[in-house]
Symmetry: C2
Subunit: 441 residues, 2 copies
Amino acid sequence: MHKKIQIMTQVIAKHNQSPITTFNNLKCKECGAEYELQAIHVCELCFGPLEVTYDYSGLCSQVTRESIASGPNSIWRYRQFLPVASDHPIDVGTGMTPLVFSQRLARRLGLKNLYIKNDAVNMPTLSFKDRVVSVALTRARELGFTTVSCASTGNLANSTAAIAAHAGLDCYVFIPADLEAGKVIGSLIYSPTLMAVEGNYDQVNRLCSEIANTYGWGFVNINLRPYYSEGSKTLGFEVAEQLGWKLPDHIVAPLASGSLFTKIYKGFHEFVKVGLVEDKAVRFSGAQAEGCSPIAQAFKRGMDFIQPVKPKTIAKSIAIGNPADGIYATEIARKTGGNIESVTDQEIIEGMKLLAETEGIFTETAGGTTIAVLKKLVESGKIDSEETTVVYITGNGLKTQEAVQGYIGEALTIEAKLDSFERKLERSRTLGRLEWQQVLV
Amino acid sequence: MHKKIQIMTQVIAKHNQSPITTFNNLKCKECGAEYELQAIHVCELCFGPLEVTYDYSGLCSQVTRESIASGPNSIWRYRQFLPVASDHPIDVGTGMTPLVFSQRLARRLGLKNLYIKNDAVNMPTLSFKDRVVSVALTRARELGFTTVSCASTGNLANSTAAIAAHAGLDCYVFIPADLEAGKVIGSLIYSPTLMAVEGNYDQVNRLCSEIANTYGWGFVNINLRPYYSEGSKTLGFEVAEQLGWKLPDHIVAPLASGSLFTKIYKGFHEFVKVGLVEDKAVRFSGAQAEGCSPIAQAFKRGMDFIQPVKPKTIAKSIAIGNPADGIYATEIARKTGGNIESVTDQEIIEGMKLLAETEGIFTETAGGTTIAVLKKLVESGKIDSEETTVVYITGNGLKTQEAVQGYIGEALTIEAKLDSFERKLERSRTLGRLEWQQVLV
C-alpha cells in the first residue's frame, strides 16, 4: 500500500551481519509508511514516530517457551523479538530482574496478589534503561556507529555511558544541569563527555535533535529510538514468563515519555500473537508526579492531545514536560480500563519509604511515584484486592539520595560503650524511634 | 573424640523445621570441639571460631550439576550446602550475579583469561553481604529470633536492614559514625534503628559483642557468624558453575575480616569433595588498602599472628584493623602460592576508574582496591597472562561517591543552544577532555 522509502544515511553497516530473520522494517505509527532499517525515527511524510515491525509467523516457528527458558539469563533470551541482527549482542547481564511476590506491602495495602518487578537492581546501572540501551548500542554497532549519545534525565546517561564503555564506543551524554549527584557521578565515572545543559529535559532533547541532524552520532533515544524503545518490551516478556507464562490482570508503571508503557503493552500482545501466552484483558495504569503530569491531565480531561508543561518535581527521572508517546499511553489506559494518576512530592517520598520498610527495596523517586499511585488507586477502589497486579519499579534510590534526606530520621550517635548505648536505647524506646529522631533532626 | 557440648541459649526454635539433612553441628576450627546448632560462635574451651560441618556423603547423593542448574536463580540453588533447615529460605533474588569475561580491562592489563565476578549488582543492596545476610536471617528465623542486628562497615548494615524489612524482623544496626552518606541513607531508608558509634569498626564490633551477650538479639556477624559466613561460599560455587563446572587458576578477592576469602576456598573444596568439579590447584590472592593492611603485613613478614592496626583509608568497607579470620587468610594465600598485596588510596581511586572505563562497572572503594591489587600483581609478574583469573568485585560505587568526587572531572556546562555546544566541544577537543575538565575543577 505504502511504498518503501529509501533513506540516505551517513552511516553504513561495517559489521558482518547474520541474516535478519525476524524484524522487517520501520513503519510509521500514524500513516503506515515503511522505511528501511536505518537510523531514523520520524516519518518523512507525516512526522509520526517510526516503529520496528516483525515477521510474527516466522517468529512462531522459531520460539517456544522452552527455547526461551533455555536462553541466556538476560533480555537476550528474547532476542528474536528484538531488532538486532548480530549473534553477539552486548550482554552485560541486563534484565531477568526479580518479580517479587509481595507479602508485607500487599498486606499494608489490602491486596492479595501483588507483584513487584524490581528493576532497581537491573544490571549494570540499576534502572530499566539498561534494557533499552543494550538493544540500542547493539543496533548502533550493527549500523556502524562508533560514537553514541543520548538526551537524558539521568538514568539513561548512566546506562549509555556504562554500556558504551563496556563496548568500547565513544560516548557523549547530555543532561539537565540540575540533576542529582548520584546521576552525575554515576555517568562521569565511565569517562564519557558529559554535557550539563542549562535547561529542563525538553530543552536538552531539542538541542540533541539538532545535534543528531548535524553530527554522525547514534543518539539512542533520537535517531536510534525505534530500536531503543523495543528494549522495554522485555519488561512485558519477563513478567509474563515469571508469572508462569501468564499475563497479569493489572499493571502500574511510571510515565515519563510514555514509551515504556506502550512497549510493555506491545510485549504482552506479541506474546499472545505468537502463542506463548493466552490472551486476556490486562488493565494498564500509569503514574506521574503532580509537578509534571501532562499525561495524567490529558487522561483525566479526556483530551486527545498532550498539553506540554514545565516540570517542577523531585521525580526528575520522569520529568518530561512534552512526552513523545504520551498520547499513546492515554489511549492504552483508556481502552484497557486502566487509570493514570498523579501524586505530590510528599506522597512520592512516602511511597519510597513504604516500599523500603515493607519489602526491603530502595527505589528512586520514580519508583516512589509508582508506589504512591498504586496506593491511591487501591484506596479509590480502582484496583481490586483480588487482581493479579504488577507494579514496575524502574530505578534505584541510591541515585536520588537527596530526595529522602531529612525525611527518614538520622542515625543515633553513641559512644563505643555499653552504657551509652543503653541510655540511647531507653530514650528511643520511650519516645518511639521516629518521633525521637525527628526531635534530633 | 570430643564430646558434644550442650549449650544453653535464651532462644528456642519456634518454627516447624523440616528434617536437617545436610548440616550436622558446629565445630571449633582450632580444637575440634563440637557444639549443637545454636546461636554461638566461639568455642567455650579454647575461644576458637566455630564452623558449620556437613554430611558430605549425604550431600553427594542429593546434588548433581543438573539439580543445581534447575534450582532457583539465586544462592538458594546451593541450599544443601548452606546451614538452613527451612524449605522456605528468605529469597530476594540474592546471588547469581554476572561472571563477566573481560575484554577491555584484560587487554589493558595484558591478561588473556580474566573474569570479573560482579557483586556490585547483587540483590537487593548491591554488595556480597546480601549473600551472608540472606543465610543468617533465614537461620535467625529458624532459631526463633525476632530481633536481628549487626556490627557493620556499611554494606552489612544496608543488607541487614533491607532483608530484615522484607522478612518483617525488628532490626538494630551499628556502624562507625564516619561512614559515607550512601551507606547511612542506604540503611535508614528501611527504618531500622541505626546506631552511629563514635569509633572505628573494631570498637563497634567490641561494643556489639557486649550487647550480644546481654540482649537476646541475633547478631548476624557475632552470635550467628558460623551460619552467616557460610553464605560467602556461594561466591565460590557460582564461579565454578559459571565457568562451566570448572575451578579457575587464580582468584583475587578483597580482605576485610578475611572471612570471604576462606569461604570461597571452602566452597571450591566442597564442590571437589562431592564430585561436582575436578580438583585442581587454585591460587588465592588477597587485596587490602595500605591504610588498613594487617593481613598483608602478616603475609609479607611471614608472621603467624595478626598485628592489629588503626585503620586510615578511604576503603572503609574493608577497614577492619583486627580481622577475625586474618590468619586463616594468610595460611590459604601461602599454601596455594598466592599473594596478599596492599595499595594506596590513590591507587584505589585509579582502580575504580579503570574498571568503570573499561568494563562499565562502577564499584566502591573495596572493588577499586581489588582491581588495583590485580594490576600490581600482574605488573610484578605474580599473575600469569594465561591463567584463568577471577577478580571479585564486592560492592557498588554509588555508595561511596565521596571517594571519586574531584577525581573524575566534571560535567561541561552549556546553554541549550547548538552554538554553545559547539564552542565547548571545540575547546574540549583541543585540550583533551580530562585535562580541560581539570582546568575547570
